[in-house]
C-alpha cells in the first residue's frame, strides 16, 4: 500500500477544495488534493452559465471560467493532486484511505483534513413519486452533466419538477439545444430559485411555471410517456379533481441538494439537521483538526461564497497545525447556536467562548419568505442582545451576518444563542437593505 504524509489533506477539488488548497499552500504548508473525477474543478465545471465571480474576482464569469482561474493558480503553485481517486474512509487520527486504478489502496496520514466533498441531489426516491420506473427520469444536475460536458441529450420533451436554480437554468439550456420544455412544476406557492433565473430562464422563453403543484404519477413502462400533476394544499395533500396529464419523454428533478457526508458520518463526526457536519465558528467539526467548507457544510447560493468559506477553513487548518496539533488542547468551552422562529438552519452550530471578541460569520436560511422582518439573537433567558432589520427574506437566499458577540453585549456565560426571524416591531422606522 502506498503511503503519503502531508500537512493538510483536502477531499474534493471544487470551488471549496481548490480555494482551501491555495490558502494552505501560500502559508508554506504541504497540501494534497484528492479528487474522484477525471479532472480538477468539481460541479462548477458543468455550470456553464454566467453569474459567478462577482464577489471573488469583481467580474461576471461562467462556472468553468471561475474554476479555471483556481486551477491555474493550483498548477502555478505546484500543489499536488490525485485524480480518479476516491476517499473511502478517514479516521479521527486524520488517516485517509483512498483508492485509484493506478496505485490501488492508498494511505494518507495528514495533520489536518479539510472536507470539501460538496453536495448531492435529492432523487425520485427521496420524494416518493408513484408509478413505474421507466427510463427518462433524471436529476437536473445529472442532465446538466450529460448536456454540458458529455454531449448527450436525455430526451426531447421535458417537464421539470422543482423551481430551484438548477432546474430553471436547465430549462433554458434545453431550449437552446432544440428541446421542448412543457412546464416547470413547483410544490411551493413561490419559485424557489432566484428571480433573475425566473425571468431570464423561464419568462424569456415562455416556459410556464406552475406553482403549488407537484408530480403525482409517472406514466410509461419502458420510456416515460408523461406525468400527472396535481394541486397541493397547505398540508401538502393532493387536491382531488385538480389532476392533469402532461405528455413528456423526460422528467428532470430539481428537488433539493443534500451535503455529501457519508465519510464524515463514518468517521464519527456529528451532523446537524441540514445534513452538514456540526462545526464551531472556525469551521472545525466535532473531530479536532477536521474542517468543513463549501456545500459539504451547507448548500450555498454561489460558488463565490463557497470559496470564501473554504479560505477560512484553510486559514483555520493552518492555525490548528501551528498551535494545537499533537497537543492535548481540547475545545470544551462552547456556546450552542440554535435555529429559532423561521430559521431552517444556522451555521456555525457552536461558538468557542474564547472567540467572543472576534467577528463571527453566521450563515442561515429561512423556512419561508417574509417581508419587513427583524433578525434577533437571544440567550437562553430570552434576553435579546442583537437585532438587525431586513426588508425581504426568502429560503433561496442564504443570509450572512458578521457579528462581534462581545460588542453586542452577549452574556459571556450564556449556554445558548437562538436566532429568530420575527415580524418587525411597528415603532421602528429605519430601513436597512
Amino acid at each position: 500500500m502506498k503511503n503519503y504524509e502531508i500537512d493538510v489533506a483536502i477531499v474534493g477539488s471544487g470551488g471549496a477544495g481548490l480555494a482551501a488548497a491555495i490558502e494552505v499552500k501560500k502559508a508554506g504548508l504541504g497540501v494534497l488534493i484528492i479528487e474522484r473525477d477525471r479532472e480538477l474543478g468539481g460541479i462548477t465545471l458543468q455550470c456553464i452559465h454566467n453569474g459567478f465571480g462577482l464577489h471573488e474576482f469583481g467580474e461576471e464569469l461562467t462556472g468553468p471560467e471561475y474554476v479555471q482561474r483556481f486551477i491555474n493558480e493550483v498548477k502555478k503553485l505546484e500543489i499536488p493532486y490525485l485524480l480518479d481517486t476516491m476517499v473511502i474512509e478517514f479516521t479521527r487520527d486524520k488517516v485517509l484511505y483512498a483508492v485509484n486504478n493506478k496505485e490501488g489502496l492508498i494511505k494518507i496520514q495528514a495533520k489536518a483534513i479539510i472536507l470539501a466533498m460538496g453536495c448531492r441531489e435529492r432523487t425520485r426516491g427521496a420524494i416518493n413519486i408513484p408509478g413505474f420506473r421507466p427510463s427518462g427520469i433524471y436529476t437536473a444536475g445529472q442532465a446538466q452533466r450529460f448536456v454540458n460536458v458529455e454531449g448527450y441529450l436525455p430526451g426531447k420533451t421535458y417537464v421539470i419538477l422543482g423551481s430551484g436554480d438548477i432546474g430553471m437554468i436547465m430549462a433554458r439550456r434545453l431550449i437552446f439545444e432544440g428541446c421542448q420544455v412543457k412546464a416547470v412544476v413547483e410544490i411551493n406557492p413561490y419559485a424557489s430559485g432566484l428571480i433573475r433565473n425566473q425571468v431570464q430562464c423561464l419568462e424569456d422563453y415562455n416556459i410556464p411555471l406552475i406553482l403549488g403543484y407537484t408530480v403525482t404519477k409517472i406514466h410509461g413502462r419502458d420510456r416515460l410517456q408523461g406525468v400527472s400533476i396535481a394541486k397541493i394544499d397547505t398540508n401538502f395533500d393532493r387536491v382531488i379533481g385538480t389532476e392533469r396529464f402532461i405528455e413528456c419523454d423526460t422528467l428532470l428533478l430539481s428537488v433539493g441538494l443534500i451535503p455529501e457526508n457519508e465519510l464524515t458520518l463514518q468517521a464519527g463526526a456529528s451532523l446537524s439537521k441540514n445534513g452538514g457536519p456540526v462545526v464551531d465558528n472556525n469551521l472545525e467539526t466535532t473531530i479536532d483538526g477536521v474542517f468543513a467548507s463549501g456545500n459539504v457544510l451547507q448548500v450555498h447560493d454561489l460558488v463565490d461564497m463557497v470559496s470564501a468559506e473554504a479560505k477560512r477553513a484553510g486559514q483555520n487548518a493552518i492555525e490548528y497545525i501551528n498551535t494545537r496539533h499533537g497537543k492535548d488542547v481540547k475545545r470544551r468551552n462552547q456556546i450552542n447556536v440554535v435555529p429559532g422562529e423561521n430559521v431552517n438552519y444556522i451555521k456555525p452550530d457552536l461558538v468557542n467562548r474564547s472567540d467572543l471578541s472576534k467577528e463571527i460569520i453566521f450563515t442561515l436560511r429561512v423556512k419561508f419568505p417574509d417581508r419587513r422582518v427583524q433578525i434577533q439573537l437571544k440567550d437562553e433567558t430570552g434576553r435579546t442582545f442583537y437585532t438587525k432589520n431586513k426588508v425581504y427574506v426568502i429560503p433561496s437566499e442564504m443570509i450572512e451576518l458578521k457579528i462581534n458577540l462581545e460588542k453586542s453585549n452577549v452574556n459571556p456565560d450564556c449556554k445558548k444563542i437562538q436566532l429568530d426571524i420575527m415580524p418587525r416591531p411597528e415603532v421602528l422606522v429605519e430601513e436597512e437593505e
Binding site: T62, P64, E150, G151, I195, D204, V391, Y392, I394
Partner: protein, 126 residues
C-alpha cells in the same frame, strides 16, 4: 394613467426584492417607468424595455478534445432577439483542441460586435 396608454410589466432582477416595474407608453409614444424603488432598478428597466440584452452561454463541438464539448460564451451581452441566430451559428461550427480559456472561437459572430470565446482550457485527447 389615461385610457390610451399601454403598460408593460418588467420584473426587476437587480436584487432579490424583484420589484414589478411598469413601463407606461402614453398616446404620444413617451415612455415613463413606475414602481422601481432604486436607481439601479430604473436603469435596468430602461435597458430591458428599449434594448434587452443577454450574455449567451452554450457549448460547441470539439475535434480531438479531452472532452467532446467546450463551454463557450459571448464576450459581451448581445440583443436578446438574436440569441437563436447565434446558437444556430455556433451549432454549425467545430473547434479544435487544444483550446485555452478566452480563445476566440468565432470572431464577430453575425456582425454583432461580439466574439464567441472559450470558457475553459481543453487539452487534446490522449
Amino acid at each position: 394613467m389615461s385610457e390610451s396608454s399601454v403598460v408593460k410589466v418588467i420584473r426587476c432582477i437587480v436584487c432579490p426584492t424583484g420589484c414589478p416595474i411598469n413601463a407606461i407608453t402614453d398616446k404620444d409614444g413617451n415612455v415613463t417607468f413606475e414602481g422601481y424603488t432604486c436607481k439601479r432598478g430604473l436603469e435596468y428597466a430602461q435597458q430591458e424595455y428599449h434594448e434587452p440584452k443577454r450574455i449567451l452561454t452554450t457549448t460547441m463541438q470539439v475535434e480531438n478534445g479531452f472532452l467532446p464539448l467546450i463551454p463557450v460564451r459571448t464576450n459581451k451581452p448581445i440583443p436578446k432577439d438574436r440569441l437563436k441566430d447565434v446558437l444556430k451559428e455556433i451549432a454549425k461550427k467545430n473547434s479544435k483542441a487544444p483550446i485555452k480559456m478566452g480563445d476566440i472561437l468565432i470572431e464577430n459572430v453575425l456582425d454583432l460586435d461580439a466574439h464567441i470565446i472559450a470558457s475553459r482550457d481543453l487539452p487534446e485527447k490522449k
